[in-house]
């Protein structure tokens, strides 16, 4: 987590990403550059192709056209777990946690890349193995503390509120030590107070040198914390720029409030 950079530079880029489902282009020719130390917002009305675009960014969906680059490494045929290895981690709009595991275990799953997986170490429970497990557990506890839910570490997921689940999921993402954290509607279903807290948390994460790609429906929230915003509609990029530019953009206003009638 000590990867602080002195100046902003591009660590991830998406070039001409297009995705086709049947006869429909869900995403068409979208470009995006993520810089270090940035919160990069992605906006768009329902069905604008945001989720598909995110799935491409996180390797869960193969683009029909276009490619991704992380730290100058071109990803040709992304295996989904490869993106995590390269330093991109994500959360989901409908929280994906493992219901049969405790909160702590859910976070520990995120530490998979750093765990000791040598069969000999595992079977003999060597000192090295016990040490790595201990370090990982401590790190997971730290993250839970940062998220303010360390008290629930031993509980099952089913007993948690939606907001707490979101926090566990973000903790799991941070456990992978990402350079880019992709948050898919972290505030969906939360009240304004909780939303503010999540916004605060995102800024904290950014201050640790992690770039954040933020997708959000709560416009006020995304405008207030993003450095740069990309707006999608009908799978195409309709605007990109600073929050102030975006709010002035006619196209964005139309796309958001619906352009069927006057606006």
């Amino acid at each position: 987590m000590e990867r602080m950079s002195l100046m902003n530079k591009v660590i991830m880029s998406a070039s001409n990403i297009s995705v086709r489902f049947g006869g429909l282009w869900a995403v068409k020719d979208v470009n995006m550059e993520v810089e270090t130390n940035q919160v990069h917002g992605v906006m768009g009305p329902n069905g604008a192709g945001k989720s598909t675009f995110l799935n491409v960014l996180s390797g869960l969906q193969q683009p029909s056209n276009g490619y991704l680059k992380i730290s100058n490494q071109k990803i040709v045929k992304g295996k989904p777990w490869k993106m995590t290895e390269l330093g991109l981690s994500r959360s989901f709009q409908t929280v994906r946690l493992l219901p049969e595991m405790s909160v702590l275990e859910n976070v520990l799953v995120g530490g998979h890349l750093y765990a000791s997986k040598n069969p000999l170490n595992i079977l003999l429970r060597t000192k090295k193995y016990r040490n790595t497990e201990k370090v990982l557990t401590e790190k997971a506890c730290d993250l839970l503390r940062m998220m303010g839910i360390e008290a629930k570490a031993d509980q099952k997921i089913t007993g948690l509120s939606l907001q707490e689940r979101r926090r566990v999921e973000i903790a799991r993402s941070l456990m992978t030590e990402p350079r880019i954290l992709l948050l898919d509607e972290p505030c969906a279903g939360l009240n304004p107070h909780e939303t503010d807290k999540i916004a605060q948390m995102i800024l904290t994460i950014k201050s640790r040198g992690i770039s954040v790609i933020l997708v959000e429906h709560n416009v006020r929230m995304i405008l207030s914390i993003s450095d740069k915003i990309l707006v999608l509609d009908h799978g195409r990029k309709i605007a990109e720029g600073s929050p102030t530019d975006i709010t002035k953009d006619e196209g964005v206003i139309k796309a958001y409030l619906g352009g069927a009638a006057h606006a």
Partner: protein, 288 residues
């Protein structure tokens, strides 16, 4: 020799197609891999044997075997599958295995494992077409199977009921919103699916005789056929039936009868690896 193998293969293929048709219908609507499918062929075959003992005409017994297998299917549906309708597919699959064990051994208890001979007015006459011998019974199998497959296809594609079945298999929730009682549909589909297999059993009885474990290899083949044709694909099941029938006939002719099953399953493996969606379906993108 070659053309004789083709004809034999097609005759068996028609039978497999009929059984696979039932299997794929049930899979499509209930999401159940029914491992007891072949046992309903056995039930149908025993029904034919038993009714024949009562000096009934063969064709009448074939028709009645449909009803017997259907009734047995209905009982099984309510005991073994209805309670699990919201459980996971694995449990349903295991339950069907339990049904299979139950039916095989019950018939072994009632009828003993010795194969029974079912006489047919068609069995010992064979006709010669272009130098190829085809027994009339096999001809009957091909005709009845094709007629039933065609009829099922017609009902599914053209009738009101068939529409409901297809809608329920595509999207059960939306089907419910449009007035289709999906539970009832799956019950009827199950009963019809196994009853068709019952007829297949009654048809094959005079050729391969009747014995309690006859269903197991039929189940296996039906699964291979269904995977080959694409799970839930009706036309695929019919086509797949003939393909498997031919492959089997050739491997028996050119390699060895003992390896027949192993060869069929090796082909299954190849299909699963290279075209898991079956030979007919187009590739569909997996959505997250």
């Amino acid at each position: 020799m070659f053309s004789q193998m083709v004809v034999n293969g097609l005759a068996n293929g028609a039978l497999y197609a009929l059984i696979a048709l039932g299997l794929t219908l049930i899979y499509g609507v209930m999401n159940l891999s029914n491992f007891a499918q072949g046992e309903f062929a056995m039930v149908g075959a025993f029904a034919a044997y038993f009714l024949k003992q009562l000096h009934m005409g063969y064709l009448l017994t074939v028709i009645l075997s449909f009803a017997v297998a259907g009734v047995v299917g209905l009982i099984c549906y309510f005991l073994a599958f209805y309670p699990l309708r919201r459980s996971n597919p694995l449990n349903m699959m295991l339950s069907s295995m339990g049904v299979s064990i139950f039916l095989v051994n019950l018939s072994q208890y009632i009828f003993s494992p010795t194969p029974k001979v079912v006489e047919t007015p068609f069995s010992d006459q064979s006709i010669q077409i272009l130098g190829v011998y085809l027994s009339e019974q096999r001809l009957l199998i091909v005709i009845v199977s094709l007629v039933l497959c065609g009829l099922t296809y017609w009902v599914l594609e053209r009738s009101k009921f068939g529409r409901s079945v297809r809608a329920a298999s595509i999207d059960p929730d939306t089907a419910m919103l449009y007035g289709i009682p999906t539970n009832k549909i799956s019950m009827i589909t199950f009963v019809v699916g196994v009853a068709l297999t019952g007829i297949a059993g009654a048809l094959t009885a005079p050729i391969y005789n009747v014995f309690p474990t006859m269903g197991i290899s039929l189940t296996l083949k039906a699964f291979v056929v269904v995977v080959l044709g694409g799970m839930g694909n009706i036309v695929g099941a019919i086509l797949g039936g003939f393909i498997i029938g031919l492959i089997e006939s050739f491997s028996a002719g050119y390699i060895s009868t003992g390896f027949q099953d192993a060869i069929v399953f090796t082909i299954l493996f190849l299909v699963l690896i290279f075209r898991p969606q079956g030979i007919l379906s187009k590739v569909r993108g997996e959505k997250v």
